[in-house]
Symmetry: C3
Subunit: 306 residues, 3 copies
Amino acid sequence: MHILSVDQFEQSWLEQLFNRADELREMDHDKKGRQDLAALHVGKQLCSLFYEPSTRTRLSFETAAVKLGMGVVSTENAREFSSAAKGETIEDTVKVLNEYHYDAIVLRHHETGAARQAADVSRSPIINAGDGKGEHPTQALLDMYTIYRKFGRLDNLTVIMGGDLANGRTVRSLSKLLSRGKGNLLIFVSIPELQIGADIKEVLTANKTEFREVSNLEEVAALADVVYWTRLQKERLDPGVKITHNFVIDGAVLPLLKQDMIIMHPLPRVDEITTEVDDDPRAQYFEQAGNGLYVRMALIDALVTT
Amino acid sequence: MHILSVDQFEQSWLEQLFNRADELREMDHDKKGRQDLAALHVGKQLCSLFYEPSTRTRLSFETAAVKLGMGVVSTENAREFSSAAKGETIEDTVKVLNEYHYDAIVLRHHETGAARQAADVSRSPIINAGDGKGEHPTQALLDMYTIYRKFGRLDNLTVIMGGDLANGRTVRSLSKLLSRGKGNLLIFVSIPELQIGADIKEVLTANKTEFREVSNLEEVAALADVVYWTRLQKERLDPGVKITHNFVIDGAVLPLLKQDMIIMHPLPRVDEITTEVDDDPRAQYFEQAGNGLYVRMALIDALVTT
Amino acid sequence: MHILSVDQFEQSWLEQLFNRADELREMDHDKKGRQDLAALHVGKQLCSLFYEPSTRTRLSFETAAVKLGMGVVSTENAREFSSAAKGETIEDTVKVLNEYHYDAIVLRHHETGAARQAADVSRSPIINAGDGKGEHPTQALLDMYTIYRKFGRLDNLTVIMGGDLANGRTVRSLSKLLSRGKGNLLIFVSIPELQIGADIKEVLTANKTEFREVSNLEEVAALADVVYWTRLQKERLDPGVKITHNFVIDGAVLPLLKQDMIIMHPLPRVDEITTEVDDDPRAQYFEQAGNGLYVRMALIDALVTT
């Protein structure tokens, strides 16, 4: 099995994966469990094949594999693989790596569709760790896992997403996944220029998922089970674009939110969530990043277990 | 023992190495064997010391060591080792690394002769993974191993080598090694400007190895047990040089070849072998790259076993 | 516990650490011991977080962890961690890594004080592997360990330090540590422009450690238990500065030194110690680098053992 796109994730498969992630986390937080983990996949190897650096994603995958007892080989300049000849195809590179019998290959590529091309010729499972403007499915997994850990379900949730929704890959993937659940309400908070794309709205409509578009967090804040916040980069906008509302979550926003909700962010954050929010128990963005480790462990575990 | 040059390989040592590579391959393709491999050299360490990136070679060596249960530490920018002082010698660097008691050091260097300099002061075995325009002996090993796996012998073979023979390091090393066998016939296919060097021809003559130089693959294709093809880069030639024959192996060439032969290429390939050839069972270039893994495993295994 | 500064090292803690380093070295030099080492910290992980490359330091730490059986994940371009958003704080990065439950994080940073900032928010032990012009405490540890291995004590020693004392981080740290011992005499050999800083002299005075400043090695050479030599880079000096004495240790200096002493250098060296000195048994700079491995093993062992 290859992991290429959020489109391939069934709800039941997700829940199974998240439960396994919980188990692996528990083992990782216990001295004896750590040693058991390290014995789990001895003799298996993961290849980290990054055509562009993405330190955060790479460390997360490699840590996952190492904790599972696997051997890891790694490159962040896989483009060099083909430099001498100015253009080895991704297919040829993967065919070479197949001969090394890796148990999984984590692929990060600068071109959209590269993961699919790789998977088409690969005997080893390919995990797409981001391909250009395409997919980054394990980011979506960790977002869903974070929600699942908090609420124990992936439906009947009100999720506010804010910031640059037009370009945000994480927000787009999460919206698609949430539309698989029943009774979810998605509220998109942005300026008109950066609102969620028409393609996503079509998916939501097709899946009968209710959604609203607003420009002001304050008017909807009280509804949220989840606020998923991203950066709205003013410096990228045309000078004429007027930002009428506040797109920063700070101490003044906290009282507007329910007690039993969570604030998420894909990180890194700059100033769109102020550090005064960090100590609030509802702020879960660092835990969310940690969930990325455990969900990747569960994913690798599933792929290499035969 | 250091591995510096193809000149040091005895025929019997090669056969022993190749048989060990077969054994390790078999273990690697079996779940239980994998675990046994991973227990083989626990507590031993390999240092990957690359003064210039060569991702393909580095991953192959590191995967080999990891599969054997060794610890690996790695750098691709070893030049930085000496940058602060603008010029630590390779001898000093190796003397420092000797103090770390590595079981093997894989050295890639941009200067010819660097591997020999390193070996002269090293207690840890040095494996030359390419030193400038000098040697790259493990590439030659994997080429020989690929031939040995197919034919079970390293003599009485007709080997056609084509492309840029004047500059091709792999072709030059392979020619030298094949001249050690008895009854081999080497046929060099290129344009006069890129034919095999006089120094290699002297070695062949000294070793009483028959060879021919031709400019057209088609006229000799039917003789080959092995076709070893490389790229002839037209863009590097003087504009006046005329290329009279086809230097591409494509579907039209396949019918000219024997059934019981193999097509090899050091990879990466660009268009000098078309992808329509890939599915022909005689096309063995991807398997050849995989052989690089197993022959390096056998080599490391031999060096670190005491 | 975090390892941030030489100021935190008590004499008794140092001696305990050095004795443990001796034990680990002995294990590393024995086949069975190697395997026992590799089983020591199975299931524990070290993260090598370098915001700038420092291959020498990184390899030393990673080799230490690997020999102890730990898993290692590594980056040399941690700045990229925050590049997308132009400025994730070190605190946020560390908070993410905390979620991965590393047993230790080795941090190299380009900004003075970064290690302290990291430690302030870190649950995992932070080991400062150099922060800008700040501290590099494990370099000081290996220097002290080298002296301790030779003399079995850290007091009643005459230590000559020479070269660029004004800017040398190693010399400054070593001076501070030696001032903790009783009866040490420090002799600083340099030109006036590059003599040891007033801040260090204040520490020595406060600790009642005797010191002298001279400009000529020859006049004091016979006194030394230790000569710690560094490079005096003439090309960095103003053209008007006159260098009146020889700042090179060569064959002519050796007869001036006691038989029972050691010559140290933090490496890399260029020409401030000539290679003819290397074979003299008093030359201990390569062994000193090796001591860096074992003292780091002892340090990691102490931090991850709970």
